[in-house]
Symmetry: C2
Subunit: 438 residues, 2 copies
């Protein structure tokens, strides 16, 4: 057995940081056997020493000055779990410049400044790991870089935001409406007081940017990812989906389309018997379709102290095994060795082809369905099913139409025209159908 110690600097002692501390403490012997060296947290940087109640870190290890970590030549690995972007970026670049390895759980940091950080790491030939940034405890990034490395990834469908999946699962189970379910999620701590980051799909887009980067060995411009959240989904839509054999999920989707990549976050209908449909509550799952391996799915907890810290410590072990073997950068962060990593060519959303669920809100009078159908046919959008709720004539009713595959831009144009019809009472709701997820 090797006997070296690997010294680690921990920056941040919140939910994730205290989980990391706890794992290294509780599994000290287990990890020594698994790493072949002892993992030692040599220093912990915190914003304020006063706030530390839950966790017993010896005070001699604590500092409020990050420099004490960055300038310590014995510290080989810096773990950033303090969150935020600006300071985290500075710390990342300083760490790399000091020739130390960098581990983070910070998806926003990498989605926004990944290129700069990855290029710095390549030049310095230090390891940079961020398994916890996507899918919490699910080892999806490692799977893309290593387990599925033999494959071209044809597509990737991820349930990567636990808040949205909790809300949609609850709405499906109890027929509750969105607002009420969001409130409940907030009470349970599954949603933030300001929930926009989650329910508007921004968090999922950050994670998708990282997934696309690794699946295809490219940089991704976050602004090119199409993002649509779940605010518009009603209990009726979910119930209707169920009648047609689907479940509604917020998905982060990447698909290879020739030399372009689709990268989009939006609610979608998936077959009710699929593995993705079985993912309930705050859980996450990522479905990978590789050209040789076929479909594979990784499922687990997407957040929480234990799961996220498990991923961070997994990264620590990987880097520490390398450090104690005297190597680095054996598996590059985006999975490819290249002097120059290309910018992803993201397919414009207007060119997406998909089947759609369309819900029109109309005054129920004779001829309205015919008018809708005629507008759809003007754009060569063909209907596969119709569902109309029985109501008293003259009342507002939802009219649901499922289409065969159609172009996004045609759907949008047809919707705009239909929304101007007399008798249409609200903006039409559209949900894309991801038929091929099994």
């Amino acid at each position: 057995m090797k006997s070296a110690k690997v010294k680690i600097g921990l920056i941040g002692l919140g939910t994730v940081g205290s989980g990391v501390w706890e794992i290294l403490r509780r599994h000290r012997d287990l990890l020594r056997r698994r790493v072949g060296a002892e993992l030692q947290i040599a220093r912990v940087a915190v914003k304020s020493k006063a706030k530390l109640r839950r966790i017993k870190v010896p005070s001699r290890l604590l500092t409020q000055n990050v420099e004490e970590i960055l300038q310590d030549p014995e510290i080989r690995i810096v773990v950033e779990v303090m969150g935020g972007v600006k300071d985290a970026k500075r710390i990342a670049l300083r760490t790399i410049a000091a020739g130390k390895h960098f581990i983070t759980a910070n998806k926003a940091l990498l989605a926004m400044h990944g290129r700069e950080i990855f290029e710095a790491a390549r030049r310095a030939q230090v390891d940079i790991c961020f398994e916890a940034a996507v899918g919490g405890g699910i080892p999806i990034l490692r799977a893309l870089r290593e387990g599925f490395v033999a494959n071209e990834i044809r597509s990737l469908h991820g349930i990567v935001n636990g808040t949205c999946n909790y809300i949609l699962s609850e709405m499906a189970q109890h027929g509750a409406d969105f607002g009420q379910t969001l409130k409940r999620a907030q009470q349970l701590g599954y949603a933030e007081a300001n929930p926009s980051f989650d329910i508007d799909g921004i968090d999922a887009a950050h994670k998708l940017a990282i997934l696309v980067s690794i699946a295809y060995g490219v940089y991704v411009d976050l602004r090119k990812i199409y993002v649509e959240g779940i605010r518009g989904i009603t209990a009726f839509d979910i119930d209707c989906a169920r009648r047609f054999g689907y479940a509604v999920k917020l998905l982060a989707i990447a698909k290879l389309q020739g030399s372009e990549i689709q990268a989009r976050v939006h609610p979608a209908m998936v077959p009710g018997q699929s593995m993705l449909a079985a993912v309930q509550g705050v859980h996450n799952a990522i479905l990978i379709d590789g050209d040789f391996v076929g479909e594979g799915l990784l499922y687990g907890k997407g957040a929480g102290s234990g799961a996220t810290a498990s991923a961070v410590v997994g990264d620590i072990v990987e880097v520490a095994r390398n450090v104690s073997s005297g190597i680095a950068y054996t598996v590059p962060p985006l999975g490819v060795y290249a002097e120059k990593i290309a910018q992803a060519r993201i397919q414009p959303m207007a060119l997406l082809k998909s089947p759609y669920y369309l819900r029109f809100q109309a005054i129920d009078r004779p001829g309205i369905l015919a008018k809708i159908a005629s507008h759809l046919s003007r754009f060569a959008i063909s209907i596969s099913s119709v569902y109309q709720h029985v109501q008293k004539e003259g009342k507002e009713v939802p009219i649901v139409v499922l289409t065969h595959e159609a172009l996004e831009k045609d759907i949008k144009k047809a919707m705009a025209m239909i929304d101007r019809l007399p008798g249409i009472r609200r903006k039409t709701v559209s949900i894309r159908i991801e038929e091929e997820c099994r």
Copy 2:
């Protein structure tokens, strides 16, 4: 970018071998980017050159003499995908002795002779990889060694035999009986002409031995694993399970029990809403419960040329990245660095505590249920539910009893006594219930 070539010797060109050849051919450029070196199959050993129809391997690479691979100093990685145990073992040990890295998909080899092979690899400090041996294309071994490395594995529940899962899924879907469904599986190529290896649980036990080895960093004596196949399961049992909210799966189970490990393969009932219950057809899935990460599941194709070859090539990439970095044995095969790896202490099956589904076949006459219940209570086995099929009095009927948690040895004793009652017509069937799989 690094520019070295890594030379590979391929032994076997059947389903898996030809898949490996095809991936390296089709993804040559992609893999060069991902490995940082070129992967080159320098030699292919086959039993007979005449049989090669499907795949175009240049004849100058073919040999019927394995020695040409083992003695070629330029070949750094030997890939054994020919199957069988005796010759494969000799090749493994010769490869390792030659200082080459060894990759195999051969679960029987490792389940039976793992200890000898792993110890040789440790002494020689060469890599030995076998991701394809368990779960086909699912990167479960890598996940245990790396992704979940921060955790003590509390339990592991695997659907690791596609043939059994296909048969049980079909029986559930069509209410068909076992024999008829097995025949259909054989016609479709999902079951062998001699299906015993799969349906009697032997294949699953081999895989479980490997999973336990890596999850706990131990050697496993295959003979200590409890093995029970699916021949005794009827369509009635599956339907009955469904009524009680369960699905029936053949599971490979490992559970940590203090200093002992449970290691058992048998049909089991899992909650109908669980992810494991959603695994249909020939698919495989492994549910891991880690003490920090919580429950994680990996799902995918358990067999087939593409999926298995994908796992083998994943191993090739891992080793090739190491070779071109000039290192080896950075992640040891069983996940732990140790001079001496211990033999697993497997808990005797008699000490298992589990809830049970019991099906008694009795002549329907007054008092039979009372007699059954009285025998169960003699062993302190308490009943949670009873289901009795309505039939004409005097006919043979199934009587189903679900128990609370009971000791395996008590269940066996009670069953033996009940089976001797007048009015009991057949051997009682018992299926263990794995309540905690989510």
